[in-house]
Amino acid sequence: MFTPYLHFHNRLRLPMNLQKLETGNASFDHISHGGLPIGRTTLVAGSSGSAKTLFGAQFLALGIQLFNQPGVFVTFEEQVDDIRKNLKSFNWDIDTWEKEGKWIFVDAAPKEEVIIAVGDFDLSAFRIRLESAVRKCKAQRVVIDSIGSIFTQFHEEMHTIRRELIQVALTLSRLGATSIITAERLEEYGKITRFGVEEFLTDNVVILRNVLHNEKRRRTIEILKFRGSNHEKGENPFSINPEKAIVIIPLSAMNLKHVSSNERITSGIPALDEMINGGFYKGSINLVSGAIGAGKTLLVANFINGIRANKERCLLMAFEESCEQLYRNAAGWGIDFNQLEEEGLLKVICIYPEISSLEDHFINIQEVVKNFKPDRIAIDSLSALSRTSGDKGFREFIIAFTSYLKHQEITGMFTSNTPLLAGGTSDTEGNISPITDTIILLRYVEMSGEMQRSIAVLKMRGSRHDSSIRKFSITDQGANIGRHFEGISGILTGNPMLIKLE
């Protein structure tokens, strides 16, 4: 989905990198540099509700769907029927796979009957059942979910369970299947697991988190260690998608090795093209900042209209206005969205940002981009989108999103609202401005009892640009960029003053 893994495969031959088994979840294979350590056990730890079971089930389901690798699912906690039911929503046909012998459940969930312990015991029955299931379907993938509940089932015999789990781990490694053992943890940041399972399953640890911060849920995945192998460090946000289950948004893996194009594309306004020395660079990220009514959407409409010349395609994600409103406004500036849409050059998606999380928006946009293959994308506005997430989450989204667009060589125009009418910046901009290529400021100028609009190019990476602050007006014909404000200073700070010219 993001970068090709070719260079990782080449490195597999080095002693530092043990072989990995591609899980089939492209985003996980990306942050793990190729998948889970092959033939080994990985501990997946997370608090309750952190999607451990889903992570395991997805590992098995993708194994069957994509690689025809059978799998065994051991449940120590949930009843088998409940798991079947819960996983139905992901279009995984577990019933059929069970009939075909590709998916085997080993039911080790608590029984209704009372269990009393009298004297020593071991878990050899479990090991033998596990082994027989693995052999029966020639399983290459095994999931044990979750190991913590066996401690609760046999709570008086902690040391026995520990001793026996070491045996289970040995059995797994002898069978050579690539396996996941999930374990509960009580805090999001602290001891790895509740019962110290990591003490004997230490080699490979993945942590799933589900943190509530500023009233927003934020799910992340972190590969804590893969002994003897490389992987991306740190937390990466993920989302639970109704179709694709766990989708990770890799942040750390975003590299800055994009192809920088020298090709220019028009902003749709000839005078603005002149200000930026011939147009935006293809594949660049361009930010338009301004207060309400300053002309941001107008610039977006022109940016869209700019696709006409070369029959480019543009995707517009509108988070502030309804489609009707947008089309009407554009028509008022002499731009016909309907026609562009009919020609298949334009796709407009108007949604409330609040309908889903930022991660889901990202995944949805990726999906649309995959199908529609736009050359340009416009987002109006980023500020509205930023409401759906905490500050950190938004910053991560921006990094991942801009990097994604650059990989796809899509030229982006984002708008951002400034809270003050004149001058000022917004938090949104603080997050995004370092990674944008061009920043265009639209500011009100209050002069002699009149509100005037201004436009200025604050920065443009890799190119000369006009440094003057120009008059900007909105007419029936659309945007009109005029001469620069002569003899006035302080526009950007919001305190314009007339300077006497000599």
């Binding site: 009957e113 312990a117 009298v118 046999f154």
Partner: protein, 95 residues
């Protein structure tokens, strides 16, 4: 007294398995007066049965009858506790 029906799951000749067989056979003989049925299942030979019954620990003794069904795990080496867990009162002890 109603009939007792037991299943005992063992793993070959492991120490705890031998102990458990020993104890339950003694209890049956000495406390149940022939009114019992005992099935001993070796999971090495019959893993599918262990799968069906959802056995995890070895040894596991299941009292199928009288209901409610109950399970005792372990080597069963404290006879008085096993008797209590199986609900066999010492009244039936026949010397």
């Amino acid at each position: 007294m109603s009939k007792h029906v037991f299943q005992l799951y063992i793993n070959g000749h492991s120490l705890t398995s031998i102990e458990a067989v020993d104890t339950i056979v003694k209890i049956c003989r000495e406390n149940l007066n022939g009114n019992y049925q005992l099935e001993i299942i070796d999971i090495q030979k019959d893993p599918d049965k262990a799968e069906e019954a959802g056995i995890i620990a070895i040894p596991t003794l299941i009292r199928m009858k009288p209901v409610p069904v109950s399970r005792i795990i372990g080597a069963l080496n404290v006879r008085s506790r096993v008797l209590a867990a199986l609900g066999i009162s010492s009244m039936h002890v026949q010397v």
